[in-house]
């Protein structure tokens, strides 16, 4: 059985909003997503962090004190690797991830989060757990003007509607 995105009938590729030449932001949905929460067990924070840092091919994102989201690694593989150093919780289906890039990505995200996203304060690789449009969000800077953002699956449609409305003034491309 194929995985079904909750946004499959909602997100449509195309060019939307203001037409000021190149789109201010480009939006897409990361699906199918592989996202696992790793929480260090008591007294094992250092060991867990070291094991994660040594992992190849997966992206490790901070998600709270001694907590991480790992993108691109199977829960079972992580369990094997980390043993009893951490709790491994698969959230691949529980969260929906958006990719937001382009020169106006910060201006767009600032409409939702009080986190300072200036490149000096929120450099590539930094993550924040925040709230946007009344929805809890996990946000990571992945490139110069690139961000990844995940929300609980159930809110994803509502969140998408908010996000795209806020992007209207910049002009946006959905891939």
């Amino acid at each position: 059985m194929l995985r079904e995105s909750p946004l499959k009938d909602v997100v449509r590729a195309g060019r939307y909003g203001a037409d000021k030449g190149a789109p201010g932001v480009t939006l897409s949905v990361v699906h199918p997503l592989s996202l696992v929460m790793v929480i260090a067990r008591k007294g094992k924070a250092k060991a867990a962090k070291e094991s994660l840092t040594a992992m190849r091919g997966a992206t490790v994102m901070w998600a709270g004190p001694d907590q991480y989201y790992v993108k691109g690694a199977e829960a079972a593989a992580l369990k094997k690797k980390l043993g009893d150093a951490a709790s491994i919780i698969d959230q691949s289906h529980g969260r929906v991830m958006f990719r937001i890039s382009g020169p106006k990505s910060r201006a767009l995200l600032a409409k939702g989060t009080p986190v300072d996203l200036h490149a000096d304060e929120f450099p590539i690789g930094k993550s924040a757990v925040t709230q946007m449009a009344h929805v809890g969000a996990h946000l990571t800077c992945t490139g110069k003007d690139d961000f990844e953002l995940s929300v609980f699956r159930g809110f994803s449609e509502s969140f998408w509607e908010w996000l795209t409305e806020q992007a209207l003034e910049f002009g946006y491309q959905v891939n």
Partner: protein
């Protein structure tokens, strides 16, 4: 255009004519005009009527403090009342109307109030409409409300969008006059992240209208040079049309950006306004100073305005307020106006005696001077001095400080995070403003060099009101507070400034006393024999100027008032024709009507089909929490009143969680998948609350435990499969060994594989009382698995059922839910007292033993059914001992849940009844106060259907 437009000068574009209407009449103005300047250019000085006496009024300022020229803009859903014509940018097609007049602005019947003004003094309403008491609500208040008020709100929905945004900076500069520009330049050059905000349509502040010389250029040229430099830098954000309206904790400033208020309608892609929260490491208040009027008779006749406003209209907009202008001032602002107005070829004369009255009604005809002689004139420029605009710095409670020399309140010291500069800081010379701005804006190193400029000396001899005044002399224009009202308030005991404000209304309404307050304070000081600092100011509060509700709401209106949360089985529900119901933020499938069915018919059919065959219900919204760690069992033992550490791997157990005070908090089943791994479920409503409770218990009470807990509610799509054919249906999709009572007994919890390799969690638990399971699959597979189950169950007559049917079945089985777990009940009340472990400690154990919580007369859960089966029970009805009349003293309890039972063919319910367990079989009186309905009902066991639980194990 009228002869009030000067032949040259101003920052208007005379090639670009704009058409607009005022009270339906068509006019033209130029690009760059404000609505007020355009009306004045057309000879329309009369723009509004005052609040109480309906006096004709024209603009007295050219800016944000305007109390008189309040107009209604646009129409339909875009109508906006009480906007200041002085701040409205003229645009093509602008539609404005005057307010507070009937039938017209020129002839207003309400002006008759003025004739009776001797009785309309301060406190008139309080004294007059006292009795009879009953008249207040029904007669006086509606009448007064009808007579009072300025513009009217639209009743249509606002079609425009509003946005919200956050911003961060090292320095926020508020105001873009000489001090603000210098501060922004200093900060930006030192590399800091700077925001420069100004409420005006264009940056430049006073340099847009004052004739100054800076660095060998005109002030305006200098300002434009600085603005161009700032605009070329990447570390500064320029925000014109942005009003900083409040200063809040954490050095956070609230602001409204008027994105599209200066055009007829925003484009589809832009909002009308944007509400900002600016988080500033440091801020400089460079808001300038407000010129205040002098109080004298007739000082409200259209054509009387502040001296700086008159310069503003002439220099910036090329508009004359009049052609023969009398100038009355106690400071050099008068001389400035004389100079500038004469330079425009206007006839301006300084009065040699104080003005005691003004002749004219809808326009100035002459000024009457002390000593008795008149000066014919058509406009009067007034200056009573300058009040630094300290408002923002006082928003967190600190009061401004009186300065005798400047006769003004200066901003208080509120710390290094927020400082004032320039005339907002009492610097009255241009060179001081530039130097102060440069110093306050410098974030590191030395302040930049300040250009040379020409200063004009400043001195003031205080003059608050002209004592010889004849006629009405206004202190607060907007509220028609006259010079007589304040001493009256003092005589009647309202001599504290805060009391005097409320008694006289001085300083209230849309302008919040920006012009009148200092004069009011001075007059009250004189009346009470105190000094001005002894009287002090009223409290400054946000908002500096009015903020529209649309800006506060932002995008969160209508459908987006709150986020919508959809289950992973939402689409399946839609396919099955579900009617969804909001449960918190969740949308849950409530019932699945077929043609001609109402909710009850649909739910009844769903119950019967489930109890006779098999039903499928979406239970994904129940809270699911993965609990991991060596101490997971111990942690659950602390959280629940019953024990979980002894639960075998592969088993589920019902748990009851108490609050610290011994009252039941939540319930649900928790299953064990490994020694160090449990999956806990909570009710839909309490999921987030339980999670925070766990955080508190772990972090604050038992930090030594090795345990982690994570919400996995959204990771799993969960389906209840209930009914005699549930197992047979599941067996059609299960991989490997088929389910039976050995591998999957009652209360089993297993990780299985379905549909050729999909991982799933299977729980043999039941809320319906049927042989039932809950099947959880990763959410992306939810709709697919539900469809597969519908296919598999076809031969057994599978039926989707919603939470109405779910609720009916749990009431038939006497299972407690939200109605009973209502924050007042103990485990004992729910009939679950035996679950409270005596072998371990847990949250709520001690407090649950309190006298009142173990009182045998407590109201406990019982079943209830009508004596006459045709009677309908209603939730919320109260229970009485038979024969007693309804009263608090006689109350025995109430019905918490009711349902039409398709299996028992009558309305049944659960109730909380005092000493209920000893009253089985008793017939009680049921009283429904809402419908005034009385009936008889019999108390019974909560479990009214299949009391032996045969079906559960069938």
């Amino acid at each position: 255009m009228g002869s009030f437009r000067l032949s040259s000068g101003g920052l208007i574009d005379r090639c670009k004519r704009l058409n607009f209407t005022f009270d339906g009449e068509s006019f033209q103005g130029f690009a760059g005009d404000s609505l007020a300047s355009a009306l004045m250019a057309n000879g329309r000085m009369l723009m509004g009527r005052s609040f109480k006496y309906h006096r004709p009024r024209g603009p007295i300022t050219a800016g944000a403090a305007e109390p008189n020229a309040l107009v209604e803009l646009r129409s339909g859903g875009r109508k906006e009342a009480n906007t200041r014509a002085t701040m409205v940018e003229l645009h093509e097609g602008l539609e404005a109307k005057s307010q507070n007049r009937w039938p017209s602005l020129g002839f207003d019947v309400g002006a008759i109030n003025s004739l009776a003004s001797s009785i309309f003094v301060a406190g008139f309403y309080y004294k007059t409409f006292m009795w009879p008491k009953s008249f207040w609500e029904k007669i006086y208040e509606p009448l007064i409300r009808k007579a009072a008020g300025l513009g009217a709100a639209s009743r249509e929905a606002d079609p425009d969008r509003y946005e919200k945004s956050y911003a961060h900076c090292d320095l926020l500069v508020i105001g873009s006059g000489p001090a603000g520009l210098m501060a922004a330049l200093a900060a930006a050059r030192s590399g800091g992240r700077v925001i420069l905000a100004d409420e005006g349509s264009e940056l430049g502040g006073s340099l847009l209208f004052e004739r100054e010389e800076i660095g060998g250029k005109t002030g305006l040229e200098w300002a434009r040079g600085v603005i161009a430099e700032l605009a070329s830098m990447t570390n500064i954000t320029l925000m014109p049309r942005t009003t900083i309206f409040g200063w809040f904790d954490g050095n956070i400033f609230g602001a409204v950006e008027r994105v599209a208020d200066h055009v007829a309608a925003p484009t589809h892609n832009e909002p009308r306004q944007r509400y900002w929260r600016i988080i500033a490491k440091k801020a400089v208040l460079a808001a300038g100073a407000e010129e205040r009027p002098i109080v004298f008779g007739g000082n409200d006749v259209p054509g009387v305005m502040t001296a700086s406003a008159m310069r503003h209209y002439a220099n910036r907009y090329g508009v004359a307020a009049g052609h023969n202008i009398a100038v009355f001032a106690n400071n050099p602002s008068g001389a400035r106006s004389l100079r500038d107005l004469r330079a425009h070829g206007l006839n301006a004369t300084a009065v040699d005696h104080p003005i005691i009255n003004v002749k004219g009604g809808k326009g100035v005809k002459a000024a009457v001077l002390a000593g008795g002689h008149d000066i014919p004139c058509d406009a009067i420029a007034v200056s009573g001095g300058w009040s630094p605009i300290v408002n923002l710095m006082c928003h967190r409670g600190t009061r401004p400080v009186w300065n005798e020399k400047l006769a003004a309140f200066l901003p208080p010291d509120v710390g290094a995070e927020f400082v004032a500069a320039g005339s907002a800081n009492g610097k009255m010379l241009l060179s001081e403003c530039l130097t102060d701005g440069a110093a306050k804006g410098t974030l590191k190193g030395k302040p930049p060099a300040v250009p040379k400029c020409k200063d004009e000396a400043y001195a003031i001899s205080p003059l608050w009101w002209v004592k010889e005044s004849k006629g009405k002399a206004f202190v607060d224009y907007q509220n028609d507070v006259t010079v007589k009202d304040l001493p009256l308030a003092a005589r009647e005991g309202y001599n504290h400034i805060e009391l005097a404000k409320r008694y006289t209304t001085a300083g209230m309404a849309t302008d919040q006393g920006k012009l009148g307050n200092i004069n009011a304070i001075a007059i009250l000081a004189e009346a009470t024999g105190k000094t001005i600092p002894e009287i002090g100011t009223t409290t400054f509060r946000p908002f500096y100027t009015p903020v529209s509700f649309g800006a506060f709401a932002g995008p969160f209106t209508g459908k987006h008032f709150q986020p919508v949360r959809k289950s992973p089985l939402h689409q399946w529900g839609e396919e099955q024709g579900a009617v969804f119901v909001e449960t918190g933020l969740w949308m849950r499938s409530s019932w699945f009507p077929r043609k001609g069915e109402d909710w009850l018919a649909a739910a009844t059919r769903e119950v019967k089909a489930t109890r006779n065959g098999v039903g499928l219900c979406d239970v994904s919204t129940l809270g699911k929490i993965d609990v991991h760690g060596k101490d997971a069992g111990r942690f659950l033992d602390i959280l629940y009143c019953n024990t979980f550490s002894t639960l075998a791997v592969g088993k589920a157990r019902y748990g009851l969680m108490l609050r610290e005070d011994g009252i039941v908090m939540d319930d649900g089943t928790t299953s064990r998948f490994a020694e160090d791994h449990f999956v806990m479920t909570t009710t839909t409503a309490n999921a987030a609350k339980v999670m925070s409770h766990m955080e508190f218990v772990h972090q604050a009470l038992f930090p030594e435990l090795d345990v982690t807990y994570t919400s996995v509610t959204e990771q799993w799509a969960q389906m209840a499969m209930a009914g005699p054919s549930a197992r047979a249906t599941l067996n059609k999709i299960v991989d490997g060994a088929k389910l039976d009572d050995t591998n999957t007994p009652y209360m089993a919890a297993r990780e299985i594989s379905i549909l050729k390799g999909l991982p799933a969690r299977l729980f043999r638990i039941s809320f319906s009382g049927e042989h039932a399971y809950e099947l959880a699959v990763p959410a992306d597979f939810g709709n697919g698995v539900a469809r597969a189950l519908m296919q598999a169950g076809k031969e057994f007559g599978i039926m989707p059922y919603g939470i109405e049917a779910l609720s009916i079945m749990r009431i038939e089985k006497g299972h407690v839910a939200g109605g009973e777990l209502n924050g007042t009940t103990t485990a004992g009340d729910l009939g679950l007292g035996k679950m409270m472990s005596t072998k371990k400690d847990y949250i709520g154990r001690v407090m649950a033993g309190r006298e009142g919580l173990v009182d045998p007369k407590r109201q406990v859960v019982v079943g209830i059914r009508p004596v006459d089966k045709r009677d309908r029970l209603r939730a919320g009805s109260h229970l009485l001992t038979r024969g007693q009349s309804p009263s608090l003293a006689n109350d025995q309890g109430y019905i918490t849940s009711v349902a039409w039972s398709p299996m028992l063919n009558m309305w049944i319910g659960l109730a909380l009844l005092s000493d209920g367990r000893n009253r089985k079989g008793e017939v009680v009186q049921v009283f429904d106060g809402l419908r005034n309905h009385h009936m008889l009902a019999e108390i019974c066991e909560p479990m009214q259907f299949d009391p032996e639980n045969r079906r559960l194990h069938a």
